[in-house]
Symmetry: C2
Subunit: 411 residues, 2 copies
């Protein structure tokens, strides 16, 4: 029993945002049915992949879902998909998609079958042009403000942040629409674009105002935390740490633990600035860094790590992904979010469940991603309510495919 147990969501998707939305709902307890072509969707082989071509990405993004393999290029396959999307049930009739709507999965068509359907569609941009995280991000300016000061090279992010944000918005949009349906019985079509989700954030963070009101376009500031104090330092043993003094308390903690109160007071006097103000810290960041850098350069990470933790300093070590997994207990089974889990076709490794804890429900262990088509038969029988004879015919005709064994796709 989880917070969304009983809810059924159907997903037609690929890549990050909508698969993430479906998985988030599945990890909250919803029955999430993803349908794909029998040869797999566009993201079936998305990297990273194992040495024999199994997608670690697909396994990561589809945990806990049911997989139906259906040839939706055929009329009969489409009809069955529509049947699954629009199947009865007060907690069903919920559909999320980021695939181009080609008539047969548009809201008009589907809501003719089920009037109270709630559907969230994520598109690239409002004009219907293709847009992905890796194009939206450069278009809006972030790469030109990322990386070492003075460099002319734009730096794109590695985390598909806009996809992750939009994916979580798909969840919110669906839950908001279903809330409305619970109260009014009315369905809802929810439209969202990746570009608009990103463009809104540009405004929300004050960056549009910075350009239009202040006439300034933010430039690269290396790893400095914009507008307050936050900086990276290299230690005596060649590690690198990030240290934050965004709030007054964080600033006081940092000065105390490094014993730099007097130096900073002198600096404040020299500069004629009140360094308790975050804006003054930002304006004085280079001078502050000059005071702190020798402190870090003279110490190994282990010389100060526990002191920093005890003093409540807001800081962290820079790590590679491998170092993070080797060093950080939050990335281990010490963290109740994680389990060592067998993923069919891939093997045993550390897998996260939901980051949410809903009290009273406890925390569910993560479930593996399905093998492609693993649930075709049961979904066709239970949800589309087809007879076993009919299901057999569909399998023979290649309209539906039952997956078995492991997720092994031709490579």
């Amino acid at each position: 029993m989880s917070i969304l147990t009983g809810m059924r969501v159907v997903e037609s998707s690929a890549f990050v945002a909508v698969p993430l939305a479906g998985m988030t709902l599945a990890q909250m307890g919803a029955d999430v049915i993803r349908f794909d072509l029998p040869q797999g969707g566009m993201d079936a082989k998305r990297w990273p992949v194992t040495r024999d071509g199994q997608s670690l990405f697909w396994a990561g993004m589809n945990k806990g879902k049911r997989s139906v393999a259906l040839d939706v290029k055929s009329p009969r396959g489409r009809e069955i998909a529509q049947e699954i999307i629009c199947a009865p049930g007060p907690d069903a009739g919920l559909f999320i998609t980021n695939l181009a709507v080609k008539g047969w999965t548009d809201y008009e068509t589907l809501s003719a079958r089920r009037k109270d359907l709630c559907m969230v569609q994520l598109r690239g941009d409002r004009n219907g042009r293709p847009a992905v995280d890796y194009t939206v991000n450069p278009a809006l300016g972030f790469p030109t403000a990322t990386g070492p000061k003075g460099s002319q090279e734009p730096v794109s992010h590695v985390l598909p942040a806009w996809d992750c944000i939009a994916g979580n918005m798909v969840v919110s949009g669906l839950l908001a629409a279903e809330r409305h349906r619970l109260r009014t019985k009315a369905g809802q079509f929810v439209d969202l674009t990746l570009k608009d989700a990103a463009a809104a954030m540009l405004g929300n963070l004050g960056i549009i105002g910075e350009v239009q009101v202040n006439g300034q376009s933010r430039e690269k500031h290396g790893n400095a935390l914009y507008g307050a104090y936050g900086q990276d330092f290299v230690t005596a043993d060649g590690r690198r740490v990030m240290v934050i003094a965004l709030t007054a308390r964080q600033w006081k903690n940092l000065m105390r633990v490094t014993g730099t109160e007097v130096d900073m007071a002198y600096l404040a006097g020299q500069l004629g600035r009140d360094l308790m103000q975050e804006g003054a810290r930002w304006q004085s960041r280079h001078e502050i860094t000059k005071v702190l850098a020798p402190w870090f350069a003279a110490r190994r990470l282990t010389d100060f790590a526990s002191d920093f933790d005890r003093a409540g300093v807001t800081w962290s070590v820079f790590r590679s992904f491998a170092e993070a997994l080797a060093e950080d207990p939050d990335l281990s089974t010490e963290n109740p979010m994680f389990r060592e889990m067998d993923q069919p076709g891939i093997g045993r490794y550390l897998v996260p469940g939901t980051p949410f804890t809903f009290d009273g429900f406890g925390r569910d262990a993560p479930r593996p991603a399905p093998v492609l088509g693993q649930h075709t038969e049961e979904v066709l029988a239970e949800v589309a309510r087809l007879s076993s004879g009919e299901i057999g015919k569909l399998m023979d005709a290649g309209v539906a495919m039952q997956g078995a064994g492991s997720l092994r796709l031709a490579s």
Copy 2:
């Protein structure tokens, strides 16, 4: 009338994630009441700021909310805040916070006042250590995988992506909890940490599997799209573009529009790889780039921009924030999400509303952020149901503060 009209959410917050959650709910139509100290919260002066110190950040993150200024360091102020959080109403009793819980806003205390309270708390990490976006990100590995290949310098992101993700998760968590309450009358405490939200994504994206299953820790690959083909190119007029060939269709479009089908076929033969496979494109990315780079170097942006759009190529220009605002119609009032709006204390500029369109409701225009304490009187009267005499006394005693005019904080 909007999708969440009638819902009331109370917010005690600062900075990005929970303010963003509250604003997202407000822009969906909820009545969101944020309370702050009379001198403003920790983020009252967060940069970017205007020349006279008004926070463009605060204005961006608090649009459409009601603001109550209350001295919650005083017992009476706390009691009133609790009264507001726990006020009756079937669509009220919803509370979101990212501020350290100090007894008086913990779930136990609050749910004693309102048994069916739904509360979402965002914390830094599961151990109660301070953690912010700018420490979580280096700790988990992304900066070491960001930036130019071969560079040893980690590159932190500028977008507080984890905050934006977690903020949207706060919305989902609250809506899921309230959905459960609508059905069972039971309240719910929802716990979420920024670090877990990020750590889960590391697993979801397949990066944990890459380390543990493949024994590989992803390194810097510049602006290349990992695992398929996506690369930046410099044009004859010194502009830079990002070009994506993640899917087979995108790859075909790119070859066609650049007339490189024959060159790529030859290359595929030379390398003995099927470039229709995304993994083969990734392995051949340097060779593919060598074919394409001269094409872009020989052309100005305007020479191919419309051809690319017509051909459905997935691409974009790299822009500074100022260039994005000058060039991109999606960042203008041509986009129905945006309005030119007067923000008290700041002036007129381009402001986004919600990126969602819920059909049947249309799209609401964005509303300004409140002046600090702008709604103190009305909320104390309507929600906490205090008499005007009592409100007057609270104002005189400095326990409550009514904001007026513009958001001008002592700097």
